[in-house]
């Protein structure tokens, strides 16, 4: 059994007060509560403040390129479907640079988990607009304020029929921990968007701002109803629903690929050079 101490990593280089610190805490507790040990999980992260996450805990880690967490994470799972895989990305990482991978990961529905640390800004590169930045926010790169409509990750995920779609808030630790656990336990692609204040660069969507708006969806919300989920997803502004917004049961990709379905993970299957010789016969 693991304990919190098992997950202690480097000292975080995040700003004091950063929501990432809360996300990290919730994660470690979720891992302990799930009874998982560090080597049982591989964290794949990108580049950004969120991308540093795995260095501040202890797990197998592939900290890759900005925007490219999901292809790496999915391939790890394909190569070893006994490994739990967590992809950790920033909002810029996942919805900006990595938008195309996000779309396709939802289609593939491998059994992996995605946390997006959504601070609605590019933190590490010092405050440019991200795809989720509110319209009107002025930054060094957006002197006239953001002129695009923000991307709504929850609505997008519902439209893509992601099999688990949830939103958390770093300021609500209990709910967040629970959502993390549900996401990690979900069979299929589990997507958790985590609202997270950036104290250095986002002066609009502050801790206070989120706290006033976030509300957990109640039992009246049926996460199995895709249209209702979509409607709920459109709420973002005065009120922001948190919790599991949409969930469906679908076969996972690893259950559908004959080479690995109900078989040992690829990485454990023996390599039989003899088999290859037969392939040459066809060419005589």
């Amino acid at each position: 059994m693991s304990e919190l101490e098992s997950f202690r990593g480097q000292n975080p280089a995040w700003c004091p007060g950063c929501g990432n610190l809360q996300i990290l805490r919730a994660f470690k507790m979720a891992m302990v509560e799930l009874g998982l040990e560090p080597h049982e999980l591989t964290i794949v992260s990108g580049i950004g403040q969120a991308g540093k996450f795995p260095h501040y805990t202890r797990c197998n880690t592939f900290n890759g390129l900005h925007g490219r967490t999901l292809p790496v994470a999915q391939a790890i799972r394909l190569a070893n479907h006994e490994m739990r895989v967590l992809a950790v990305a920033g909002d810029g990482d996942c919805y900006g640079e990595g938008g195309n991978h996000f779309l396709n990961a939802m289609r593939r529905n491998l059994n992996i988990t995605l946390f997006v640390h959504d601070n609605q800004v590019y933190g590490l590169t010092k405050g440019q607009a991200s795809p989720t930045t509110d319209e009107g926010m002025i930054t060094g790169a957006q002197p006239f304020g953001v002129l695009y409509e923000p991307l709504n990750p929850i609505a997008l995920a519902v439209a893509m029929d992601a099999s688990f779609v949830a939103r958390g808030f770093s300021g609500d630790q209990d709910q967040l921990r629970g959502l993390m656990q549900s996401a990690l336990e979900h069979k299929g692609f589990a997507f958790l968007d985590i609202l997270q204040p950036c104290v250095s660069y986002n002066k609009i969507n502050t801790f206070q701002w989120y706290r006033e708006r976030c509300y957990p969806v109640g039992p009246e919300h049926d996460p199995g109803d895709r249209v209702a989920a979509f409607q709920r997803a459109l709420e973002f502004g005065e009120r922001i629903p948190t919790g599991i917004i949409y969930r469906s049961e679908r076969q996972t990709l690893e259950e559908r690929i004959p080479v690995i379905a109900n078989r040992e993970p690829l990485v454990k299957q023996p390599f039989l050079p003899e088999d290859m010789a037969g392939e040459l016969q066809r060419f005589f």
């Binding site: 990593g9 480097q10 040990e37 560090p38 080597h39 049982e40 591989t42 794949v44 580049i47 540093k52 795995p54 260095h55 202890r58 797990c59 197998n60 880690t61 592939f62 900290n63 890759g64 390129l65 490219r68 999901l70 292809p71 790496v72 994470a73 999915q74 391939a75 790890i76 394909l78 190569a79 070893n80 006994e82 490994m83 195309n100 991978h101 779309l103 396709n104 690929i257 004959p258 080479v259 690995i260 690829l266 990485v267 299957q269 023996p270 390599f271 050079p273 088999d275 290859m276 010789a277 392939e279 040459l280 060419f283 005589f284």
Partner: protein, 589 residues
């Protein structure tokens, strides 16, 4: 004897089937075969051709002259009539082509009608054409029978018989109507051993050779090299390898993923490799552009990965279905930062097989990206070759797996070592964590910012490994005169045409080919002082299928050597034998 049959027509007319069957037939019959294809970037219409050369001695290039032109449309006659050899003939069906030609060397064979008459099915017209070829060449239909039986095994004897009937009718027609046919075809002589075998009824009379294209050779080499994961996005001329691997994935422990784009493809290949399986991606030059960042990631995280790049004429989309060798320097220098890489540029299917296997071995052993550079020409050309030997491909699992790993007290993914090679472990196989990072990192794989670690890591990753990898690289191949006055240098897919040109010229001149197929790390002169050969020669020529003589430039950067002459070709087509001879003939070789 040395004949060329060219089948020309529109995309969708089935000329590829005719060509492929003839090639296989000739190979089975004991001839040496060389084929090449030329097609447009469209699915129907346009103008394509398939050229099959066969001879009773080794051949390795296509020729300009055509002995039999099978014209499936009018345009083919117009485009290629001028290529006919003195004994050459055009064969066509005036019904399909909608034209009746005069002239002794144009033979109208009613393929369609014969198909209807003999087999009751006009779709057998291509089989009639194949039969007609055999008839014209005076060959029997035994081998064709064998081939059809294999091909239609699942469809049953009836289909085979129908086809055979069509072929026979075609052959008969040809024999009866081809007053002009002057082709003399002898099944090449058998070796003593083969005769014994033949006598014992073990095999048919002909020597056993394989017929293989470059695409299949790369795929087979990958399988033999232990490839378990292939991720790619389709792009000519690399799609063939993806399809080949996909077809294998039902039979072997192999996953093939079509990625959403090339960026995902290479990142997937890297992810799978990190997780513990040998992996590969493949693309063309334009798709590789999107993999450049991922390449750098493989370099930094020291993740083994094999990258197949099929070159095609560029820039940008260029000529999607044609050939060029213009991505060498690009691939060599691709990606930000400095890290080692391996580059193989096979010259024929045999090399493609072994070097793909070797690429996997070196990638794994040194934890570096390894490239196989090909092009449309190598991808599509078929060669006859002696049996490939999978045992010649080294397969050794260099990774730390469960047992060994668990025994270690400590594990650090990027530990400093004398060789620069750190232990590569399978994540999850023990309690040891496998951590790596695209940022500069310490031995544990965690991110750092200090100067000292940086310097040690660059030394480990690059400066220590590079010379060790170089030691594994074979020198270029010298073919021809051992002390040549003239040396023709090439790399990659020009191998065959240079070899045959050198063989021709070697009859009268002191000449040799120096062919580079293992290109990077650039081969040293320790095992074979090829530079000395070049320096001793009076005349040195570098032949490339590009406009800027990239290999010559690389040669100068690496060795200082400067060629006497540079031969280039950049029209999207490969060198034909006569073309190269012309280029070389202008000068006193």
């Amino acid at each position: 004897m040395d004949y060329t049959i060219k089948i020309g027509g529109q995309a969708g007319q089935g000329l590829q089937t005719i060509g492929a069957v003839l090639a296989k037939l000739f190979a089975r019959s004991g001839f040496h075969v060389f084929t090449h294809q030329d097609y447009m970037s469209r699915i129907r219409g346009g103008h394509n051709f398939y050229q099959v050369r066969f001879a009773d001695r080794e051949i390795s290039a296509s020729r300009k002259v055509v002995d039999i032109l099978v014209a499936l449309d009018k345009n083919t006659v117009a485009e290629h009539l001028g290529e006919l050899s003195p004994v050459g003939l055009v064969v066509y069906d005036s019904e399909t082509v909608r034209e009746k030609y005069d002239g002794e060397n144009l033979l109208d064979i009613p393929f369609r009608q014969i198909a209807m008459d003999a087999a009751g099915n006009r779709i057998m017209e291509n089989t009639v054409a194949v039969g007609a070829m055999l008839g014209m060449l005076g060959m029997d239909l035994e081998t064709l029978d064998e081939l059809l039986t294999e091909t239609f095994a699942r469809k049953g004897r009836e289909v085979v018989d129908q086809n055979l009937a069509a072929a026979k009718a075609g052959a008969d027609f040809a024999r009866g109507n081809c007053g002009q046919c002057n082709f003399s075809v002898n099944i090449p002589g058998l070796t003593a051993a083969q005769e014994k075998e033949a006598a014992a009824g073990v095999s048919r009379a002909a020597p056993k050779r394989m017929l293989m294209d470059g695409t299949s050779a790369v795929g087979l080499g990958a399988l033999a090299g232990g490839c378990r994961f292939y991720a790619a996005y389709p792009m000519t001329p690399s799609t063939g390898v993806m399809n080949f691997m996909a077809a294998q994935s039902g039979r072997h422990s192999l996953i093939v993923e079509q990625a959403e784009d090339e960026i995902a493809a290479i990142n997937m290949a890297i992810g799978a490799s990190y997780a513990g399986v040998r992996s590969m991606t493949g693309t063309a030059g334009g798709g590789f552009a999107l993999m450049v960042e991922g390449l750098s990631l493989a370099g930094m995280t020291e993740t083994p990965v094999v990258i197949f790049v099929g070159q095609r004429p560029a820039p940008a989309t260029g000529f999607p279905t044609r050939t060029e060798q213009a991505d060498l320097l690009y691939i060599l220098h691709a990606a930000h930062g400095e890290f080692p890489r391996v580059i193989m540029a096979p010259g024929n299917p045999e090399q493609a097989y072994y070097l793909t296997g070797k690429a996997f071995d070196l990638a794994e052993k040194y934890q570096v990206p390894a490239f196989i550079i090909s092009d449309q020409y190598l991808a599509d050309t078929e060669w006859t070759l002696d049996a490939l030997d999978p045992a010649k491909i080294i397969y050794q699992d260099y990774r730390l797996r469960a047992g060994e790993l668990a025994k270690l007290a400590d594990y650090q993914r990027h530990a400093y070592t004398d060789t620069g090679v750190s232990p590569l472990a399978e994540p999850g196989a023990s309690h040891h964590l496998v951590v790596t990072d695209s940022d500069e990192h310490d031995e544990d794989g965690h991110l750092v910012e200090d100067a000292e670690t940086r310097v040690r890591m660059v030394e480990k990753r690059l400066l220590k490994k590079q010379p060790l990898i170089r030691d594994q690289i074979s020198p270029p191949l010298l073919h021809g005169d051992k002390k040549p006055e003239t040396v023709i240098v090439g790399w990659g897919s020009t191998y065959g045409v240079i070899k045959e040109a050198v063989d021709r010229l070697g009859e009268k001149h002191s000449i040799a080919m120096l062919h580079f197929s293992e290109i990077y790390p650039f081969p040293g002169t320790g095992k074979f002082d090829y530079l000395e050969v070049l320096r001793q020669a009076k005349f040195t020529v570098c032949v490339e299928n590009n406009a800027t003589s990239q290999f010559a430039r690389l040669m100068r950067a690496e060795t200082g050597f400067v060629f006497s002459k540079l031969v280039t070709k950049f029209d999207g087509r490969p060198y034909l034998l006569e073309e190269l001879l012309d280029e070389l003939g202008e000068h006193d070789v």
